[in-house]
Every structure is written in structure tokens, then in C-alpha cells.
Symmetry: C2
Subunit: 475 residues, 2 copies
């Protein structure tokens, strides 16, 4: 079937206003965060509901047209934008944005895939509850994309990754059928867990159209502390103490290397970095304690933890935020690191995970290998230590042209970092997924047996290879 009839079918299915073609589709074709070359879509189609999504997929299946599902277009791994061929249809879930239901007794809510994460959080809050998923792009990313990529963020330590927050899914298959698996059940052992197979499959096995998500009681109080430590070993010991003293109250444990914070001090002077000037320490930790009782109780627990940490000689100094505004400043410093790094110049980013106990040895080993390979190279290391997740970024030596550095050294730097990650039993993609960006890494570092299974599953569920082809697995 030639191209025009497909577009006609789509216009008939979703209405002509929702089939976009032409040259001004940059908002859907450009992976904005990566600033990579713009793709070229056959068209952008915006179905209104699940039935229309299924009809679009059937039309594509009939014509062999590849589909790129897209939510908020905030992928960091080229997972949701079309390639340059002009053959791929972008299927935007943006019109499926309803919060379908909130069930306070069951502590769950059902939202559509295109619902922006921030709006889902707000809906839960208005019901007096908490949807804890929280990440930098929450103002524009969508719940469907969070599920497709199993997003992480800052609350994983307590609440898990996105997959741990999902009770049920509604999915359109590669054949354009609808699987209604929207259940709010906490226990359900009736066959293979298709929900978990779909979550994190980055749109390659099915298109998530809605999800039932877990909600939690809102904490009564949140306290935030900023701690200076003498080494990353000390940070790991402090993490163990914090887990013991705060238990499930520990909702954040972020680690930041001194070079990362020095960039914030230089490029984001509106934020005063706590303890940076006062302490010569190489590492800093941001802790968050979410308490179900009261601010008073939270403060007592935090103080007990700090006493124990001082006694164990694993902290050098600490500041507990005196109010919500100071706590927000602590978080803003943490969240300004990427921006400060960008202002310093282009850099080579890694989103890696390691067993927590091995992080100190990994950091020492990889820092040394990089210093040996590239004189003057700067490591800007920070991340979610509580999850073993580091953003281990590599910046050009002072005075080097960053673009030249990237062009000449990216392959070598990636090889050093990822080889060492593999050697330490870690993951080359902790929370950003594979997308089109890391397909080669998946082939290189994932077990051949696991890869064989993934290919067999893809072939079984999407034999025409229509759903996000070339992402995760090579086309």
C-alpha cells in the first residue's frame, strides 16, 4: 500500500487535525535534551483514546509502517524520536492525559499514558496522597514514558523505580489489540508477569496507554541534611547508618563530589553551596528524611543519626535545613549540577549503577585509569548513592576545546568507564534505558543468553518489527 492511503486512514481514524505532516515537526522529531541530529517523521499522529491507538497500530501493521511511540519527548537515550528515514510514524500519546480514577482505600490511581508526571503527582496530592515518582523532567515527561523507560529519580531508595509503583497496565499490542491489565491488585499470580515485561521495554513490545499506580500516605514532615564526608567510603558507611536509624523514612541519599559542587559555585552563584567553603572535604551528601509522625520526631531521628555518625567517625560536618526553603536550596544545589556542567562545556555523560559496597573501589580505579589515559581529565561525579546509581561524567581538561575533546576522546572514555563498570558487576544504564543510543553497549555488555531471550521475545510479540524498531535491539 503506498503512503497516502495510510495517512488517509489515519486522518479518518483520529481526525485530520491530529495527523501532522510537513516541515515543522521539530518538537516531535528532535531529541531536545541530547541535541542530536533531528529525525524525520512520516507524520505525527495524535489519537484521542486507546481505541484510536489500536486502530492506528492496525493501520500501520497492514502497511508495514514502523511506529515510534512518544510521550513527553524527554528521553535521554534517543528512545522516542524518529530516525532520519522519513518512514517512521510518531505516535504521540499526548491526548491520552486523563486521570481516570483515584481509589483512596486501595491507595491507587489509574492515569493515561500521556498524563504529565507533575499532573499525576498533583492529582494524588489533591486526594491527600502521595505519588512518589520524582525526576528532573517531571514538568514535561509523561507517565507512559516513565513506565516505558522504567524511570528512576530521587525517591527510588524508598519507593523503588517506576516498575515498583505500577499495579496494572493497559497496552496496545503490535497487532493492534488491547490488553486491559488495569488492576489495582497487590497480589496476582495468574500466569507470566506481562506488566513487568512491558515496563522498561521502551515501546518495543507494546504501547502503554494507561496504568494503575500505587499511592502512599503523605509524610507528615520532611527534613533535609547536608553532610561533608572525608571519603566516599565514609558516605557508604553513613548510608548504612541512615538505613538503620531512619529505615523507610530515608527517602533521599544523594552523593556529590567536590568538583561537581565547585562547578555549581562557579556557574550558579545564586545558590550558596553548604559547607563547600568551610570544609576541604572531597564528598558531600544530601539526606532526606520523610517522617510519618511530625517534624519534631523527624528532627529527633535525624539528630540521633548524626550523633551515631559522629561517633562512627563517618561525617566531618553536617547542616540540617532549618525550614522548607533551606531544604529546597539544598535540593536546588544538587539539581543544578547538570546545568553547571553544561555551562562549563560539553561533557561525556554516564548513567551507571554498581553494587553499593563496590562503589569506592570502582571510583578509585576508574578515576586512576582516566587520569592515566588522558592527562588533566576532570571527573564530575554525583548521583543517587542509595541506589548505587552514579552520574559519572567526564569533562575536558581545563583549557581544552570541549568539542574537540568529545570528538577525539568519547569512545576511549566510554570504553574505560563501561569496561570497568562491567568488571565491577555494574550496569551501563541505570535509569536512562537503551533507546537507539546504547544498542551497541547492550550487545557488548549484556549476557549473550539474555540477549538471545530478548530477541526471541521481541520476535514472538512483534514479528513485523513495527514497534520502535532499532531501539533496545538492533533492527
Amino acid at each position: 500500500m503506498p503512503e497516502e492511503p495510510l495517512l488517509d486512514v489515519l486522518r479518518h481514524t483520529v481526525g485530520p487535525a491530529h495527523v501532522l505532516t510537513g516541515d515543522s515537526l521539530g518538537a516531535w522529531e528532535q531529541d531536545r535534551r541530547q541535541r542530536r541530529p533531528q529525525g524525520k517523521a512520516l507524520a505525527v499522529v495524535r489519537p484521542a483514546d486507546t481505541v484510536q491507538v489500536a486502530a492506528v497500530v492496525r493501520a500501520c501493521a497492514a502497511t508495514g509502517t514502523p511506529i515510534v511511540p512518544q510521550g513527553g519527548n524527554t528521553s535521554l537515550s534517543l528512545g522516542a524520536t524518529p530516525d532520519a528515514s522519513g518512514r517512521e510514524l510518531v505516535l504521540s500519546l499526548s491526548r491520552l492525559h486523563a486521570v481516570r480514577a483515584i481509589d483512596p482505600h486501595n491507595l491507587s490511581m489509574t492515569v493515561e499514558a500521556g498524563c504529565i508526571l507533575h499532573n499525576a503527582q498533583q492529582a494524588a496530592q489533591q486526594a491527600g496522597l502521595l505519588f512518589p515518582l520524582s525526576l528532573a523532567s517531571e514538568g514535561s515527561c509523561t507517565v507512559g514514558g516513565n513506565l516505558a523507560s522504567n524511570a528512576g529519580g530521587t525517591q527510588v531508595l524508598r519507593y523503588g523505580n517506576t516498575r515498583d509503583l505500577c499495579l496494572g497496565l493497559e497496552v496496545v499490542t503490535a497487532q493492534g489489540e488491547v490488553w486491559n491489565g488495569l488492576r489495582g491488585l497487590r497480589k496476582d499470580n495468574t500466569g507470566y508477569d506481562l506488566r513487568h515485561l512491558l515496563i522498561g521495554s521502551e515501546g518495543t513490545l507494546g504501547i502503554i496507554t494507561a496504568a494503575t499506580l500505587k499511592l502512599f500516605p503523605q509524610p507528615a514532615a520532611q527534613l533535609t541534611a547536608w553532610v561533608a564526608v572525608a571519603s566516599i567510603e565514609q558516605a557508604v558507611v553513613l548510608l548504612g547508618l541512615a538505613q538503620q536509624y531512619l529505615s523507610a523514612g530515608l527517602t533521599g541519599f544523594e552523593v556529590m563530589g567536590r568538583p561537581a559542587l565547585e562547578l555549581v559555585a562557579r556557574h550558579c552563584p545564586q545558590w550558596r553551596v553548604p559547607l563547600l567553603a568551610e570544609m576541604a572535604c572531597p564528598w558531600f551528601v544530601l539526606l532526606e528524611n520523610s517522617d510519618c509522625e511530625s517534624e519534631n520526631h523527624a528532627r529527633n531521628r535525624f539528630e540521633a543519626l548524626m550523633e551515631a555518625a559522629l561517633a562512627a567517625d563517618c561525617i566531618q560536618d553536617a547542616v540540617i535545613a532549618q525550614n522548607q526553603s533551606q531544604a529546597q536550596t539544598f535540593w536546588q544545589v544538587r539539581e543544578s549540577i547538570s546545568q553547571a556542567q553544561a555551562r562549563e562545556g560539553l561533557n561525556i555523560k554516564h548513567d551507571i549503577a554498581l553494587p553499593i559496597a563496590r562503589i569506592p573501589a570502582f571510583v578509585a580505579h576508574t578515576d586512576a585509569l582516566l587520569a592515566q589515559a588522558i592527562a588533566g581529565v576532570r571527573v564530575v561525579n554525583f548521583g543517587h548513592l542509595g541506589d548505587g546509581n552514579l552520574h559519572y561524567n567526564v569533562q575536558a581538561p581545563v583549557g581544552c576545546d570541549a568539542a574537540v575533546f568529545l570528538r577525539e576522546q568519547e569512545a576511549l572514555v566510554n570504553q574505560i568507564v563501561y569496561d570497568t563498570v562491567a568488571q565491577f558487576g555494574g550496569s551501563f544504564s541505570a535509569e536512562h534505558g537503551v533507546g537507539a543510543l546504547k544498542v551497541a553497549q547492550l550487545e557488548q555488555y549484556q549476557s549473550p543468553v539474555a540477549l538471545g531471550w530478548m530477541r526471541a521475545i521481541k520476535q514472538a510479540l512483534d514479528p513485523q518489527n513495527l514497534l520502535n524498531p532499532g531501539r533496545v535491539l538492533r533492527r
Copy 2:
């Protein structure tokens, strides 16, 4: 290839002492808990390690011999015993019972599939940590079986099902390859989540040989309360309050109908059922509060909860256990229900899950349907209300022959219960799985789209249909 050469190969692989044949294999052939007819194994093979498991599977693949993986043989769904054909090889994981490693900083441990759950709990405890999975058969069930069936139990409310406690797996595929996915990572988005696909697949997609499991800090104190409520609606309201006041400290919320406790009082007189004689209430709740601070703090929180519950008029009376021994008695009463029921006579068991908010309406509706269909029928209802999981069991009318009742009414009772479960958006198998017992229910109540996916996945990963054939999916 005839049968003898296979057994010769197996004897060569695992040693002649570990290939058992003949007529005294009842311990492996009999599903002890169900007291169903005994199967007949081709042989029982007991490999010593993962390499031997893989070699056994390759030998079976070469001869087209079906394999039934078995752990502690405590399946409640005929999931781990051979059929009557005499063609199926029982592959016992019992010799793979090592605790390979405990990593206190990473809060994880790696154990082999045949490790008895109680031994895994003990190993964690000796390291000063908690492995929270806890169920009635923990003295004989194995971690591999817990994973294969995604076991639930009494701590799910706080710690999740077995799948939520697993960070990584080692698996032998249907082709006899070994996938080493033993990682202690909290975040890892590198392709499809094969771990979650394997967990709960009941030995039909691969044979789990080892797992890396999550550990937790041990609670500083545990308190247990026994509460009388005027209705199951009140129990649901109390659950919401308990979640709000105790947050993650709430590790148990069990509900028991009066008829269940009256059976305990009659058949297990060594346990005094709290409040049963004093209160005419139709429902009772057992709550457990695991506190990371102190017994004092736990008691204060519990008392605050009870005050709030009295103010909300959702409890009639409550007893807080004064010491560990009284707390154990509370749990023993709860755990004696199945035994008391058995002493009362054969009964029709259901392991169902529902959205928590719909449980009161479900119970009223189903009780009425059963009473209408079978005069004098007795419902013995209890379960893990915090997980929406009821053991909604049906006992013959007083004076009826239980065996006749079972023979004549089981199909009708199951139809009434499962149809209503489906109507209320629930699951016909919350924590016991499908096995060979509920294959027809899976076909009847699971979505056809989901079933199609499951069959396609089974075909893709085990095209010879050698791994536990006929369990979960029809042969």
C-alpha cells in the same frame, strides 16, 4: 533415543547416587499438601550445582524428556510434582542449597535455589539483617520455589511479594544454557526485565538456580495488636488509618471472620482466641507494627493509632500484646485457622485477591450467592487484608458429609466464587499460582490477549515444551 541411555547420561552427569528410580519416590511424586493422586516420575535427578543442572537439561532436550523442577515440594497448585505418565523427570534443586554470599553494605545476599527459606532467613539474621519473606511452609519450602511461584505470605504489605525481594537471578534455559543475571543492583535498565518474567513463571520458562535477594535492617521492636471490629467495612477503614499512623512500620494486617476463629476455639483449644468470648463482633484484625526505633516508640504509635481508630468509630475493642510470647499466641491463632478447618472437615479453598476498597461489597455479594445456592453452607473467610488477599474457604453445612459436599458442590462453588471475583476486578490466584490445578481457570478468567502473549513467550523460550509442560499453560 530410548529411555535407558538418558538415565545413563544422567548417572554419568550427577553420579549414580543422585539418579533415583523405582517405586519409593513418593516424597517427590506426591503433592503432600493437596493430598491429590500421586504422580509417577521417570526418575528423580539431583544435580549438585548449576553446571550439572544445565547438563541435565541438555540431556533432556536431546531426548525430548519433559522436566519438572522441584524445590521443597510445598506447591499448593500441583506445580512441582510429575503427572501420572511416568515420562516426566523430576529435577530436584535440593542439593543447590548454599548461601553463596552476604553483602551487608549492599543489603543483599546470594543464595542457591534449593536453600530452605528458613535457612535463608537465619543466614540474614546472623549477619544482623532481615530477609522478610515469611510463610507457613518456611521450614521446608525453598527460595527457588518461592521465586518460581512468586510466593506471598504475611509481610507483603511492607516488603512486597517474592518478586519485590529479588535483585538478580541465575537461570538455566530450556536449551541448557546458563544465564548469569546475579546482580545486586537497585537500578538496571539494560533491556527487557527477564528477572520478572522468570519470577512467577512456575518453572515453565527456565530453571532458577540461584538468586540475589534484598535484605533489610532488622526492626528494633515489634508489637502486635488484636482488634475486634463491627464489620469488614470497619476493617478497611482501620487499614487506612494504620497505613497513615504506622506508615512502613505496618508489617501485618490480617483479617479473620468470626466463623474461622470459632473453628480455632473448637479444634485448637490450646490457643485462647482473644476477645472472641467477650465481643459479639463478626470480624477480628491482627496488626503488626515493626519499629526501627524502640519498643517504647512502637507502643506510643500503636496507642495513637488506637485512639484515632476509636475516634473514627472503626474498632470495638483492642488488645496490644504485652510481650513477645503473647504476640506469638496472636499469630498462632491466626495460623491455626487452616488446621482447625481441616479438623472440621474437607473444604473448598480459594486464594483470591481483590482491590481493597471492593472487599466489603464482594464479601456481602458472594456470601449471599452461596447461601442462596446451597442452604446452610459455611464461609470461613480470613486473609491478608492489607494485600487484598482473602482465603475465602467454603465448608459443608453442619451435619453434611464433607466428601459428598466436595464431590457434588465444588464446581458450583468455584464458579460462584471465581465469577464474582472476576466481576469485582479480582484475581482467582493471589499467591498460590496456577500450577496444573488452575490451568482451566487461567483460560477462563485471564484476558485472551494476555494468554496469547503468554503462549507466544512460552513457544519462543521453550519451543520443545520441555519445562514443566502443562503447568500454567495447557500442554
